[in-house]
Every structure is written in structure tokens, then in C-alpha cells.
């Protein structure tokens, strides 16, 4: 129905006797109107921070401090972005973030399928008990470990390197192990049987038969690991002391350490940090949604 038609029927409805209005309403206004309005309001609320950031990034300092705030910037102050990038060693921080993210995602891609395979496609005594312990570690708050971990990494000489963040990624993560395990359990046993009959050992079966089938699940793990690594805050704060080693999460503080905070520059930099995640999300939306819901198969 076009807008004009809707408008016409709305006007027509007004002329009818009041008691027939309800019946008419049900006929012309689609049932989905209410839910749709609610959903639009919810989306507006959830995207408001994003809009706030993106508009502030394009405002002049003067415009940003006016009340009421402008929902659309009066002009597009593109220079904010170049100023923001030059204000702090943005390039260095960006490269550090990329190195950390790549290392952690790589570790996740290698370790979790391997571990999950051992917890799903081989039937050994005590397997499910040990898997219970894997799952239980989800409920240990990371900050409980930071003091001891710091001391351990300090004794290893790893402070001020990326190793304390990247190396643990190569030893698996309970969420990702769970996710991969769910996927492996869904593959029929005959596939492994066939490989075994062809003379493949367990590792060959894993590497050449099962892993290629699990590519979508590995993609989910890599994407989630990368997004988490990109936003990692506490670990780099603890383990990195040299400014030249900072990732963006820690480096962003620098906009505030000068006495006057330049919020438009801060928001321009934030936009640059958030955009890769948004791009990744748009490109791999299906993987994100599927990845989250894997965990819900069994509560």
C-alpha cells in the first residue's frame, strides 16, 4: 500500500461512525505496525551512542560545546580525523593492535579446533568430566589471576612484550572449545570411519577430513577472537609499559592526558577504531549470529 493510499484510507476512516473504527483499523493497519515501531525505537536507542560518536567526530570544538546539541553536524569537519591521527602516535598504536589481534586470532584458530576434536570425536574415559572442568573455567573471573600472572610473566621476562596476551591464545579458550565441540559433534561418525579405513591416523583425519568441513566454525572462532582482541583493555594495561608498545585501547587515553580534552578528536579516533569492527560485522553478519546461538543449544 502506498503512502497516499494509506493517507486516503486514514481520512476515510475518520469519517466513519466511531464504533466501526476498530474493525476498520484492523483491516488497514497491518498487524506488524506495533512491533515494528517498538523495534525501530529500540534500534534508535542502541544506535544513539554510535550516532553521537559519528556526529561528534565531524563537529568543530565550538559546535560540540553548544546546547542543545546538534543531531546533524552543521559542517563536516574532516580535518578532525587527520588532527586526531597526528595528535597521538595513532599509526603505532594501530599497528600494535593489528599485531595483537592477528596473533590472538591465529592462536585461537590453531588451538581450539584441535582441543575440541579431542573432546568430541575421540571417546576416552573421563572425557566428559574433564570437559566439565573446561566449562567451569568460564566462571573464574580473569582479574582473580592478574597479580599472579603478572609475576609469572615478569619472571619470564615477558613484560612489555605482546607474549602475555598472544601465547595464552594458543592454549585454547573454553567458549571457543565449546563452540567447536558443538560443531564436531554434529558431523556424522561415518566420515571419520571412512578416513580410518583409508588408513588415515587420528591427526590426519582431523587435519584433512574434519577441519576442512569445520571451516565455518573456525571462521566464527577467528572472528570472535579478533573482535575480543581488538577491544582487549585490562591485559595490555597490565603487561605493556612502553608507549611504543601500546595498542589503541590504551593509547586512546592520551587524548585526555592533556589538560583540555578534545572530545571531537577523541570521537574521530573512536570512529576509526570502531569502523573495522562494523565492517567485519557487515561482511560476516551470519557468522556472528550463528556463533552466539551455538551456545544456546543446550542452555
Amino acid at each position: 500500500m502506498t503512502v497516499a493510499q494509506k493517507e486516503a484510507s486514514r481520512l476515510a476512516a475518520r469519517r466513519r461512525p466511531a464504533r466501526r473504527w476498530g474493525r476498520f483499523f484492523n483491516k488497514t493497519v497491518p498487524e506488524s505496525l506495533g512491533p515494528r515501531l517498538i523495534l525501530i525505537v529500540m534500534c534508535a536507542l542502541f544506535l544513539l551512542p554510535f550516532w553521537s560518536m559519528a556526529t561528534a567526530a565531524f563537529k568543530t570544538t565550538q559546535e560540540l560545546s553548544t546546547f542543545p546539541p546538534t543531531f546533524f553536524p552543521l559542517g563536516l569537519e574532516w580535518s578532525n580525523f587527520s588532527t586526531a591521527v597526528n595528535y597521538i602516535p595513532f599509526g603505532t598504536f594501530f599497528i600494535n593492535s593489528v599485531i595483537l589481534t592477528t596473533g590472538i586470532a591465529l592462536g585461537a584458530a590453531i588451538s581450539n579446533p584441535l582441543i575440541a576434536y579431542g573432546f568430541s570425536r575421540i571417546n576416552w574415559p573421563g572425557r566428559d568430566v574433564l570437559f566439565g572442568i573446561v566449562m567451569a573455567t568460564i566462571f573464574i573471573p580473569f582479574p582473580v589471576l592478574i597479580v599472579a600472572l603478572f609475576d609469572i610473566f615478569a619472571k619470564l621476562g615477558w613484560i612489555n612484550t605482546f607474549l602475555p596476551m598472544i601465547v595464552p591464545a594458543f592454549f585454547g579458550n573454553p567458549f571457543f572449545i565449546f563452540l567447536m565441540r558443538q560443531f564436531f559433534r554434529g558431523l556424522p561418525g561415518e566420515i571419520s570411519e571412512a578416513a580410518r579405513i583409508d588408513g588415515a591416523n587420528e591427526f590426519q583425519t582431523f587435519l584433512y577430513v574434519i577441519l576442512p568441513l569445520a571451516r565455518p566454525a573456525v571462521a566464527v572462532v577467528v572472528i570472535f577472537a579478533a573482535v575480543a582482541a581488538w577491544g582487549e583493555f585490562l591485559a595490555p594495561l597490565l603487561y605493556l609499559q612502553d608507549e611504543a608498545k601500546y595498542p589503541l585501547s590504551i593509547g586512546l587515553q592520551f587524548y585526555r592526558q592533556e589538560h583540555a580534552v578534545s572530545y571531537n578528536l577523541l570521537m574521530a579516533a573512536s570512529t576509526l577504531i570502531v569502523l573495522p569492527v562494523v565492517a567485519l560485522f557487515i561482511a560476516f553478519q551470519r557468522f556472528f549470529i550463528e556463533g552466539v546461538t551455538v551456545g544456546s543449544v543446550k542452555g
Binding site: 506488524s32 512491533p35 515494528r36 523495534l39 529500540m42 534500534c43 542502541f46 544506535l47 544513539l48 551512542p49 553521537s52 560518536m53 560540540l64 546546547f67 542543545p68 588451538s111 582441543i115 579431542g118 573432546f119 576416552w124 574415559p125 573421563g126 568430566v129 572442568i133 573446561v134 568460564i138 566462571f139 573464574i140 573471573p141 582479574p143 582473580v144 589471576l145 592478574i146 597479580v147 599472579a148 600472572l149 603478572f150 609475576d151 609469572i152 595464552p168 592454549f171 587420528e202 582431523f206 581488538w230 583493555f233 585490562l234 586512546l252 587515553q253 585526555r256 577523541l266 570521537m267 577504531i273 569492527v277 560485522f281 553478519q285 549470529i289 552466539v292 551456545g295 544456546s296 542452555g299
Partner: protein, 310 residues
């Protein structure tokens, strides 16, 4: 192997154990090196005086005694429990409401779902910086929009009454993730149940109360426990909102220390005051708190979690 509960293993069992060992070995090593050992080691450190350099000297229960008489320790504990007590139930309701909305039969629902989910994957540190602008009493959108409906200006980040609630609001941006899990649970509810209830004359509210809610209780339980564990370790937003460590050791964490959360105080003890012993004692207390809270929720859930008989 640690994972052998029985003494008599058949030949096949033994062979399978040998085959599986290399696969799970990375996890076993990681578990010992990065989880179990640090937990045990920090228990030891909690009974010592240790600056991070030199040797740790045993001091018995002195660290725990010190904490028992430290008002800031209790302040941080209170702040954290207050935040968790607010963030977890609010987060649960928001996630369920979002899931119900995402479950509506609207053609372009995938777009709404994506928009609501997106903020939950954005870096928390970036969202915190965004909130500083968004909640600014002078030029932020939130106060302006509230002023349109007659709400007086709220100093979100400057008034100790509002600071923790601001962090609760911030946490809701992550509700899209749990909402998707609830959505999957909603879709798993057999449609026939709703149909027969409708025939019996049950309205939407009663259908939700008597069909939907019982069937999603296992997910509610998971959300409560995991939300609580995340809640007690709240750190990043508070740390960024108060401006990091730029103020030196003497600064307060937000107005009236209202953002001095437990982990924030732990961080300060360990890395600003270099008191690894006290920080380790705090770490162990946090560990116990999270275990106790999880057990309490588990016990309580026996009264309301509905497990399908099938």
C-alpha cells in the same frame, strides 16, 4: 593421566586415551600454567608481603587483617555488589525484552536484529569514551532528549548517585549478545504449545508467563550466573571514566570514590601501591565471592528452573 577415574581401563580405552592426549594437551598445559598455578600461587602470595621485586616474606594473615580494617576495601566491595545487583537483573530483563522484539514477525526483522546486536561487539573502551560525550550534562544527547520530556539535567558522571547507574546503562549496550541467545531459546519453544493455549483462551501475557518463561529458565540461569561473574569483575568503564591513572596514586575513583570497584582497587593495590600481597588476598576473596554467588544462584534456581522431561 589426570582424567582417568577408573583403575581398570580396557585396551580400547587406553588406546583412545593415548590418541586423545595430544589433542587436549594444549588445554591441559594452558590450564595448569595460566589458571591453576596462578590461583594457587596467589593464595601463597596472599600470605606474604611482596612488592613484585625481590622475595616475598611470609606475614601470615596480616593482609587479610589489613583488608578487614580498610574502609576503602569495603567501599569497593559495596560498589561492586551494588553495581552487580543492579546490572544483572536489568540486563536480564533488557535481553528478554529485546529477544521478544526480535522474535516478531516483521519482514525486515534481520536489520533490527543486526542493529541491536552490533553495539555488543564494539570495543568496551571505545563505548566508554562515547558515553563520556553522550552523557555529558552540557552537550550530550541523553540529557537533551530527557529535557524534551521534562527531566531535569542529570550529572551522570559527576554525581556519585548516578555514576554506577551510568555504568549499568553502558553495560546494556552489550545486551544484544544475550538477547540472541534468548531469541534462539524462544524459537525452540514448540509452536503447538502456543496454539493450544490460544484455543484455551490464554492471552499473550499468560502465554508468556506459563509457556515461554518456564521454557527459557535454563537460559535465564546461565545468564544470571555469567552476568554475575562479569559484574563482579567490572573494571574497564570505571577506569576510563575516572581518567585512568593520570591523577597519580592519590586521586579518588570517581566522585566520592563511587566508581572504585573491587577490581579497580585490586589493580591499584597491585600496580600503583606495589602491594602484591594485599592484591593477592583481594584476588582470592574475589574468587571465593564468585564461587559463593554462583552456588547461591544454582541452589536458588532449583525452585524455578524448569528442565524438560524429554
Amino acid at each position: 593421566m589426570i582424567a582417568a577415574p577408573r583403575l581398570h581401563l580396557s585396551k580400547a580405552d587406553r588406546r583412545n586415551l593415548r590418541t586423545a592426549a595430544p589433542f587436549i594437551l594444549p588445554w591441559v598445559i594452558g590450564f595448569f600454567a595460566f589458571t591453576l598455578y596462578p590461583i594457587v600461587y596467589s593464595l601463597y602470595l596472599s600470605f606474604t608481603s611482596y612488592s613484585g621485586f625481590g622475595n616475598a616474606t611470609p606475614v601470615g594473615f596480616a593482609n587479610y587483617q589489613h583488608l578487614a580494617s580498610d574502609p576503602l576495601f569495603f567501599k569497593s566491595l559495596w560498589n561492586t555488589l551494588y553495581y552487580t545487583g543492579l546490572a544483572v537483573p536489568i540486563g536480564l530483563v533488557v535481553a528478554i525484552v529485546l529477544a521478544l522484539a526480535m522474535n516478531q514477525k516483521v519482514r525486515e526483522v534481520a536489520i533490527y536484529r543486526a542493529a541491536i546486536y552490533l553495539p555488543s561487539i564494539l570495543p568496551l573502551f571505545a563505548l566508554t569514551f562515547i558515553f563520556i560525550v553522550l552523557l555529558n550534562p552540557r552537550f550530550g544527547f541523553v540529557n537533551y532528549l530527557l529535557s524534551l520530556v521534562g527531566v531535569p539535567t542529570i550529572n551522570w558522571l559527576g554525581d556519585p548517585k548516578w555514576t554506577k547507574f551510568s555504568v549499568v546503562l553502558l553495560a546494556q549496550l552489550g545486551a544484544g549478545g544475550p538477547a540472541l541467545i534468548f531469541l534462539a531459546a524462544l524459537r525452540a519453544v514448540p509452536g503447538e504449545l502456543y496454539e493450544s493455549a490460544s484455543l484455551d483462551g490464554a492471552g499473550a501475557l499468560r502465554r508468556f508467563r506459563h509457556i515461554t518463561l518456564p521454557l527459557i529458565t535454563p537460559v535465564i540461569l546461565y545468564d544470571l550466573i555469567y552476568g554475575t561473574i562479569l559484574g563482579v569483575q567490572i573494571f574497564t568503564p570505571a577506569f576510563i571514566l575516572v581518567g585512568g591513572t593520570s591523577g597519580g596514586a592519590a586521586y579518588t575513583a570517581g566522585p566520592d570514590n563511587s566508581l572504585l570497584f573491587y577490581v579497580f582497587y585490586l589493580y591499584k593495590e597491585a600496580f600503583q601501591y606495589s602491594d602484591m600481597g594485599i592484591a593477592s588476598a583481594m584476588a582470592w576473596i574475589l574468587f571465593l565471592i564468585s564461587v559463593v554467588l554462583s552456588v547461591i544462584i544454582m541452589r536458588w534456581s532449583r525452585f524455578w528452573v524448569h528442565y524438560e522431561v524429554s
